[in-house]
Amino acid sequence: MRRAQSWFLVVSGSALACLLSGCGREEMTPPEALAVADTPSVRALPFRLTQVKTFGALPAGAAGICSGPDGGVIVAGEAEVAVLGRDGSALRRWTISQPATCVAFDGADNVLVGHARSVSVFGRQGNSRGSWGKAGRGEGEMWLVRGISVSGANVYVADAGNRCVHRFAADGDFIATLGRRDREAGIPGIVVPSGYLDCVTIEEDGVLVTNPGRWLVERYSGTGELKAAFGKRGLSAGQFPGCCNPTNIELLPGEPFLVAAADKSIPRVQVFSPNGEVMACTDADVFADDASGIDLARGVGLAFYALDTSRQTVVVLELEPAGPVAAAELEKSVRKP
């Protein structure tokens, strides 16, 4: 009897131990990521984007950046705006009353902070100069501001909610709407499936706008005429992947200019010539896998800033030639500051 009892204890104890240790569970191996087309063409591009440095200590919930004074960068977050130097050191900070979605600096004394449905204006020292903008779906009204760009007396506001770009005067007076569908004028209309839209002004009265749902970068005049467009959907370098890219855009110095465009889902930054020829693309590991809405800001020379919204860091990238031929081309065609 005693022997039977002890055998019973041994067997049941072993079974219990096995159960607790997970015997019978299959080995867990994480699945492979969805296959993405190999992009060996990145290595064959004439230029490369080198990650120069990265800096953090940004305002919490950083969502937008723009070129700051003296080659630095201005970062806008949920409750704060910070002016950073070229080395990432904080020069100035001030609080804001609503979360920021984007920011712009007019190069003189005005910092424009875009919120979902309005724009706040501050001086370089952070002194408030009021706000403007009306929420709504009508002409000149804003619903989801995601990009803002200033050039002289014009302020262009990329409104993802209304799927258009508004042109305002510096004091907030509405002037025109760009990007709405107009079959007669040959404008297909801006498509915004994921809430990302951005614009950047061109010196000679015009603006570049992302059209993510159509995988295009479009150029409009100040009166709304569609001048040109480039872009193609696809996974390779030089194409815009997924359902809706590019998400953000910036101009780099070039003759006449270079275009930097950021993608989500395959988080990367690509640089194009004005006619859409890809010149450089970041490597796969520069940004976090889930980074989206990577805002861009011009730096000094061919260096520029990119905001990794997932890691909450600013990455400094520099465009460099990949070989001697490209170096000569760069010397010839890229306008030095």
């Binding site: 994480p30 498509v191 359902c243 889902s265």
Partner: protein
């Protein structure tokens, strides 16, 4: 006479013990809420085991579509292969192996994507594409009207992401656009 009394006392004692135990069990269950199995879409890694490990012939896990999150894209990355030949409903262009997603034109350039649950078996290929390249509006949920409520769910036991939770039977589904905090709030750890 003593033996009879002993047996009678034993019988009464056993009955009393059984009634006490029954009463105690009822007392312990007074606060228990009936629960059902569910998948937390914010933890799911689309491994494909929902399709293969359910005890039912056709898995009780189906893809659901959170329309407020959807971009209604022409190139839906949950519907199409990563580099489709053409943006049409040809089988060679689709991610779904069983044609369980129906694509309907809305207006240029928007399309609506609906899940045919009679065909879907929860393989998560569409969920993986939507999550990786899109807005993440497609995700897997256990359909409580199909699930037989195994005490130890075979899928849950083999989920590599520990994404299975228990939900109250009167609130069985997680609505993704309400966010991960709402998903955690009324879910119980499985």
């Amino acid at each position: 006479m003593a033996r009879r009394r002993f047996l009678a006392d034993l019988g009464r004692g056993t009955l009393a013990a059984a009634l006490s135990l029954f009463g105690y069990r009822l007392y312990r269950r007074r606060d228990n809420v009936a629960t059902v199995w569910q998948i937390n879409p914010f933890k799911c890694i689309q491994c494909g085991r929902c399709a293969t490990h359910c005890v039912l012939d056709m898995s009780a896990v189906k893809c659901v579509h959170d329309y407020p999150m959807c971009g209604y894209c022409d190139l839906c990355t949950g519907f199409f292969q990563p580099n489709p030949i053409e943006l049409n409903t040809g089988a060679e262009n689709q991610l779904c192996p069983i044609d369980a997603i129906k694509r309907h034109f809305v207006e240029d350039p928007y399309f609506e994507y609906d899940i045919d649950e009679t065909r879907c078996f929860g393989c998560a290929k569409c969920v993986q594409g939507c999550t990786q390249f899109g807005n993440g509006s497609l995700y897997l949920q256990v359909k409580s009207e199909l699930c037989v409520g195994c005490n130890e769910c075979r899928i849950a036991a083999n989920c590599p992401a520990n994404a299975f939770v228990k939900r109250p039977v009167d609130d069985p589904y997680i609505v993704k656009h309400l966010g991960p905090e709402a998903a955690e709030e009324s879910s119980l750890i499985a």
